[in-house]
Amino acid sequence: MIELLDPTSPLVWAQSQAVDLGWGLALRWGLWLVVGFLGLFPGIVAYMVWLERKAAARFQDRIGPNRVGPLGLLQPIADAIKLLTKENLVPAGADGLVHLAAPVLVIVSAFLMLAVIPFAVGMAPVDLPSGLLYLMAASSLSPLGVFLAGWSSRNKYSLLGAMRAVAQLVSYEIPQVLAVIPIVLWGGSLSLVAIFDKQVEFGWFIASPPGLLAFLIMLIASIAELNRTPFDIPEAESEIIAGYHTEYSGMRFGLFFLAEYLSVFAVGCLVTALYLGGGMPLPLVRFPMNLLGDSLPRLILVDMVLLAVFMFKVLLFILFMFWVRVTLLRLRVDRLMNFAWKYLTPLAIVNILFAGIWYECVIRAGVLTLGGWLWGWVVTGPLVVFAVWLVVWINRRLLLGGPAGVGRPSLGGTRVDAGAAPG
């Protein structure tokens, strides 16, 4: 994995113009494509849906799906059969081709995101030198799909939902992109494999004040990017029916559904790989990596540990998403947009500078020492706390009768929510 990045390695020069693929590479890719992307990941996603229904049921003191198979474990299969045997309705006057292309685009976006995640040592599907940028580019495809879905349906509510959804996705994409900049800064590379290596050496990035702040920004922004409660304005059933996928039925709706959960999984992997140290079990310890030797069995052992821990972290992330969903209420449109631009974006920008300071304090030395790490906390911790306090204070201040007639938004909901259409 590492030697692929080394410019002096002969592997890199395995000439690019001939595009010849060795059998080993072809086999590897075939395995990834068939077993990973077409088999395992959709399977995981199907059982995520089951898990969510079960978890939500537990939270609400119900039992959840329990009819199909033991514990309802065959429920996803039943759902798939149901979706496959339903009729696809395309409304008259809809733009057929675009109506078809929209869910495909959303699915493609989710799939492409997974292509650079380093699950364990040597277990990234591909290691691109600018992997993180690629990942952001892949995730930026989905707003287009959402917009096209709403536009092509020729339905007022669809279009309304799509416009709202795109405005929201677009607004939260900025803090999301800005929140990964500190990681690039610390890793000194855009490659996710290099970032993982950096976390082995210098601890998880979340174990620092700027990292923690970046993680929180990322977390909130990704919940919003995934259109999940409390940021599910785009598909607010009580206001605009089902938003941009109102006119989607049967399997076409199923594709949107699948894409949503696939994205949840992808974002979970992303957050784990970027902030939570990938498959490392402990924040500041090199534990499984120091077992790594020359022999293959050792590599397999290390990889098993890494993979298990990685998946466990992703599972925790997913469960957290479910928890948030059943606990919090939907935000109002204006607050939602405000939050992205007036809280998250300034914080994310300032946080980049804090990350630079952390780099100077801790990582510049070249080796992680406890003293340096504590020093980093002492220097950046207060800065981060102060920045958060300042942003909140400014916003409060402006909200409570500041200039420009900001006014206080709706105490008691008497003001008509301009974003709400009569449903």
Partner: protein, 119 residues
């Protein structure tokens, strides 16, 4: 090697498209298809739809998209800067602070102008 990696991405793209289209093909084969007038109407709460789908959107949407584009380009400059930061030292930090201050002023202007308010 770079192109080879992207060939995998290309294959993955095709696989994803296929993965999305395959179930639709199955649906075409096994699901019932009966056209009817009321089925193909736009769904608007069971009421017959009135008028064109002609909604004029507020300018607000444009402002958000505009800010998004501007800050996306800012990120475009931040990525290479961050990747190169380790080898650059303090002056790079100062240059970036100057750059960020420009952008921050833009954000503050939009904020002060009140366009960030979703009225």
């Amino acid at each position: 090697m770079i192109i080879n990696n992207y060939i995998f991405i290309g294959l993955l793209l095709l696989a994803a498209i296929g993965f999305a289209l395959a179930p639709l093909l199955v649906v075409r084969l096994i699901a019932p298809r009966k056209r009817s007038l009321s089925k193909s109407e736009p769904y608007e709460c069971g009421v017959l739809t009135v008028g064109e789908t002609w909604i004029r959107f507020r300018i607000q949407y444009y402002i958000y998209a505009l800010m998004f584009v501007v800050f996306d380009i800012e990120a475009l400059f931040l990525f290479p800067w961050a990747a190169a930061y380790a080898g650059l030292g303090l002056f790079a930090l100062v240059e970036m602070v100057v750059f960020l201050v420009f952008l921050f002023l833009g954000l503050v202007y939009a904020w002060a102008k009140g366009v960030l308010r979703w009225a």
